[in-house]
């Protein structure tokens, strides 16, 4: 796994745990499942099979709820669709009967389509709205199965598909489901560990940073909805076989709740956690029979307790990284030498030019005819009083705001207004006033987000961990380690990002931006909250980055830093350029001093 391409000096490199490591809990659960026949108790075999079937659904749903953070509550709808599709096709009451496996495959296709239909509102709607639509969808699907009697048998129901020999026995079917579940675990873990999985979490926790890294949320979510929908529907097919006979009553809202809560109990951004959650929630009513009637109550109470008291779920309890102590008195020591390996000496890009930019919010002109030129290889400071339009300017360049007038270009190529996700392809990177990070992910993974667009392998290749995907991962990791080396956080690569200090997060954001090997880098108040010594190191780092050909646009309040490292300074006041020139010129500029000091 250690195919370093750079020239960084060898040093101890903390290993970053993947979603399947450690592997032994998964193997232990599998072994327990495989050993079930030894008990000779067919009922327990049934329970184990049910767990495996539920997990097939939850594994896929986990990517949506646990990773992408979309509150898809009514996923029993997909189970229903899969169960009925398989049963109806195998029974042959619409088309000639299909073999069970073909029916299962068809259910997967139907589930993929339905998964996208259920998921589409998530691309446009806010959280609560989306939760509501999935709930509505679950109700509708149940009502259709009731009403469409010719096909589904209505309230009377329909027989589930029968598996061919030797899978038609309790134990044969158990082994089949366990195998299926194991494969699903592997597939979803592959996605979770890939750039797609990281992008999902980025969309959840740091949407703006995800956009700046070139992650296109709709495309990404649709791919995951297809996968989760297919898995859920196939789980439905297995569920129908397990039940031997299905009626709409079998698909209660309780099941939806079980799937959803299993993930939250398990913890977001984990695979082992939700797996354990599924096992526990399936077992719970079995262990305590009197509780069966109160299972919904129990699930709901668990949900409340988890959210209020243990937001990290089981995963946080078993995650060694949340306990391991980080060294005290850490010092950030950027190594500009690593920049050589990371950025190289690139063809100097052309300057970025903004001319006549105008942007108003509700009648107030935040930017009022701004001209700005950021030259490659230089540090350009942007200063001015609060509300003078500095961050707004960055947001216009980043494409978050569309200016009402004016033009932007890099060299002779016009820079399209809007389109924040397109900036990464143009090698325009940025950091934010408040660091945007994924707290639960490691520092290394946070940084790797920045290189998302440089992956070459597609979703399917990542799903099956094909060679091109593995090469992508190696290269991204090597580059991320170089970037961390450059900003001075190499030793913290494996630490959870939410355990870092504020100043370290600022440098981590710069490392993430460097993953793009940016032609232009925009820094929004990178020195805010840093100590004087850290500011000095930051200055040297920014200087170093610009000397590798990158044009840096620096918004900052610390006048000392600006005057120290900038080649050019533009002073804004009320959205207009008040002055522009070298730091030496600006320092003595009468109007600037008065605007800045407010005399």
């Amino acid at each position: 796994m250690d195919a370093m391409t750079g020239t960084a000096p060898p040093r101890t490199r903390p290993k970053v745990a993947g979603p399947l490591s450690p592997l032994w809990p998964f193997l232990l659960l599998l072994a327990i499942g495989l050993a079930m026949p030894l008990t000779g108790n067919a009922y327990w075999g049934l329970i184990a099979t049910r767990m495996a079937v539920y997990w097939v659904l939850v594994a896929g749903l986990n990517l949506i709820v646990g990773y992408a953070g979309q509150l898809a509550i009514g996923y029993v709808a997909l189970l229903t669709i899969g169960a009925y599709t398989t049963s109806v096709l195998a029974a042959g009451n619409v088309f000639p009967p299909l073999p069970a496996f073909a029916a299962l495959g068809a259910a997967g296709v139907a589930g993929a389509v339905a998964g996208v239909v259920v998921g589409l509102p998530a691309l446009r709607l806010r959280t609560f709205y989306f939760a509501m639509t999935t709930l509505g969808f679950a109700t509708i699907v149940t009502q259709i199965t009731l009403a469409w009697q010719d096909v589904t048998g209505g309230g009377i129901g329909i027989a589930g598909p029968e598996m061919p020999e030797p899978l038609d026995t309790t134990w044969g079917f158990l082994y089949f489901c366990l195998g299926f579940a194991a494969v699903c675990t592997w597939l979803t873990a592959n996605i979770a560990r890939s750039r797609f999985g990281r992008a999902l979490v980025a969309v959840r926790d740091a949407e703006v940073a995800a956009e700046a890294s070139g992650i296109r949320k709709p495309r990404l979510l649709v791919l995951v909805f297809i996968l989760a929908g297919a898995l859920a529907a196939m789980a439905g097919g297995l569920f129908a076989t397990l039940q031997t006979y299905i009626t709409p009553d079998a698909f209660t809202f309780d099941l939806s709740l079980l799937f959803f809560i299993a993930i939250l109990i398990g913890g977001r951004g984990s695979i082992l956690g939700p797996l354990l959650g599924t096992v526990i929630l399936t077992l719970l009513p079995e262990i305590a029979a009197p509780l069966a009637a109160w299972s919904t109550f129990l699930y709901a109470a668990l949900l409340l307790v988890i959210v209020l008291a243990m937001p990290g779920g089981i995963a946080a309890l078993i995650d060694p990284r949340s306990r391991r102590k980080l060294p005290e008195n850490r010092v950030i020591t950027p190594r500009t030498a690593a920049l050589d390996a990371l950025l190289g000496q690139r063809k100097v890009p052309e300057p970025m030019r903004l001319s006549g930019i105008v942007l108003a919010f509700g009648g107030v002109r935040a930017i009022d005819g701004l001209d700005l030129e950021v030259a490659p290889g230089q540090v350009h400071g942007l200063i001015g009083p609060n509300g003078s339009g500095k961050t707004t300017t960055l947001n216009v360049i980043s494409g978050y705001y569309r200016p009402e007038a004016g033009s932007m270009a890099i060299g002779t190529n016009p820079l399209r207004a809007g389109d924040p996700e397109g900036r990464a392809t143009l090698r325009i990177a940025r950091t934010f006033q408040t660091p945007r990070l994924i707290g639960e992910a490691s520092v290394l993974e946070n940084v790797m987000i920045g290189g998302t667009i440089d992956g070459t392998a597609g979703f399917a290749e990542a799903l099956f961990a094909l060679p091109r995907h593995r090469r992508d991962e190696r290269e991204l990791e090597a580059r991320a380690r170089l970037a961390l080396e450059a900003v001075g956080l190499a030793d913290l690569a494996a630490a959870r990002a939410d355990r870092l200090q504020h100043s370290e997060l600022r440098f981590m954001e710069i490392a993430r931006a460097l993953m793009l090997r940016p032609a232009f880098l925009m820094l929004d108040e990178p020195a805010a909250g840093l100590s004087a010594e850290e500011i000095r190191r930051l200055g040297a780092l920014v200087r170093g980055i610009s000397r590798h050909g990158t044009g840096v646009l620096l918004v900052e309040h610390h006048a000392d830093l600006i005057f120290d490292i900038c080649d050019q300074v533009t002073v804004l006041n009320l959205g207009k350029v008040l002055a522009a020139g070298t730091p030496a010129e600006i320092r003595v500029h009468k109007e600037v001093v008065s605007a800045y000091l407010g005399a």
């Binding site: 009083p385 504020h502 909250g529 004087a532 309040h557 000091l597």
Partner: protein, 250 residues
């Protein structure tokens, strides 16, 4: 006119630390305001002036240090407690309520007052600003930016504060209106109300102030009498500092 800090301080801030989440903004601020004193708080952007005001009025939790107002510990107080004690904070950006009338905006400022006193207090606050008194039945949203700022100050006055903290009352106002608002500060001073004024306009601010504090990077870097000579130069020195890191240019 007191040049040094007065004997009896109304407000005493000691070792105050506060911030947003992981970001520490204030690193041990000490500050005193005497009864009837107008104190200006100056400093460059991002120095922590607004944060300081917010942590004093209870809008932002205090991480360490203490805020004592007239002998009463306000370090853990809510904005409501602070206002009841007589420490009133007019926040930046003339954020009045646009959906309700001018009179109702003032009525809300007097939410805690006895019902009988409210209308008298409102009239009293409006007497400082005849230009909005004429518009008392208009919605807050119908006022101009300058009038909204006057309304925000008037809201603070309804409480008859002993210390009024004004956060950039002149931002976005025309020079005439700035003089109007700062004129009210002088009127208040004449009536014995203390004022803590955060401002960008140094000269005009110094003209109405007794003393000055300058804040930079979360620390008080200068304390002086407002009429001391050479203040602008000393301020510049305090902000940009000569003790900054040495040049990094290769």
């Amino acid at each position: 006119m007191p040049i040094s800090a007065p004997e009896r301080s109304l407000l005493e801030v000691a070792g105050l630390e506060a911030g947003y989440g992981k970001i520490a903004v204030l690193h041990g601020v000490n500050l005193r305001i005497g009864a009837g004193e107008v104190v200006a708080l100056l400093g460059p952007n991002g120095a922590g002036k607004t944060t300081l005001l917010r942590s004093m009025s209870g809008l932002l939790p205090v991480t360490a240090g203490s805020v004592t107002f007239d002998g009463q510990d306000l370090s853990r107080a809510s904005p409501r407690d602070a206002a009841r004690a007589g420490l009133v904070h007019v926040i930046e950006g003339h954020r009045v309520f646009t959906q309700i009338s001018v009179a109702d905006n003032l009525l809300l400022a007097g939410y805690d007052l006895p019902r009988r006193e409210r209308s008298a207090r409102i009239e009293e606050a409006l007497s400082y600003f005849p230009e909005i008194a004429a518009k008392r039945h208009d919605r807050g949203g119908a006022l101009s930016g300058g009038q909204q700022q006057m309304l925000a100050v008037a809201q603070g006055l309804v409480r008859r504060p002993r210390l009024l903290m004004l956060d950039e009352p002149s931002a976005g106002l025309s020079p005439v209106l700035v003089d109007r608002v700062l004129g009210v500060v002088s009127e208040l001073r004449a009536k014995g109300t203390s004022v803590l004024l955060v401002e960008q306009l140094i000269e005009k601010t110094l003209a109405v102030s007794d003393r000055v504090y300058a804040l930079a990077q979360g620390r008080i870097v200068l304390e002086a009498g407002a009429k001391e000579g050479d203040l602008p130069h000393r301020l510049e020195h305090a902000y940009f500092g000569q003790d900054v890191p040495t040049a990094l240019h290769a």
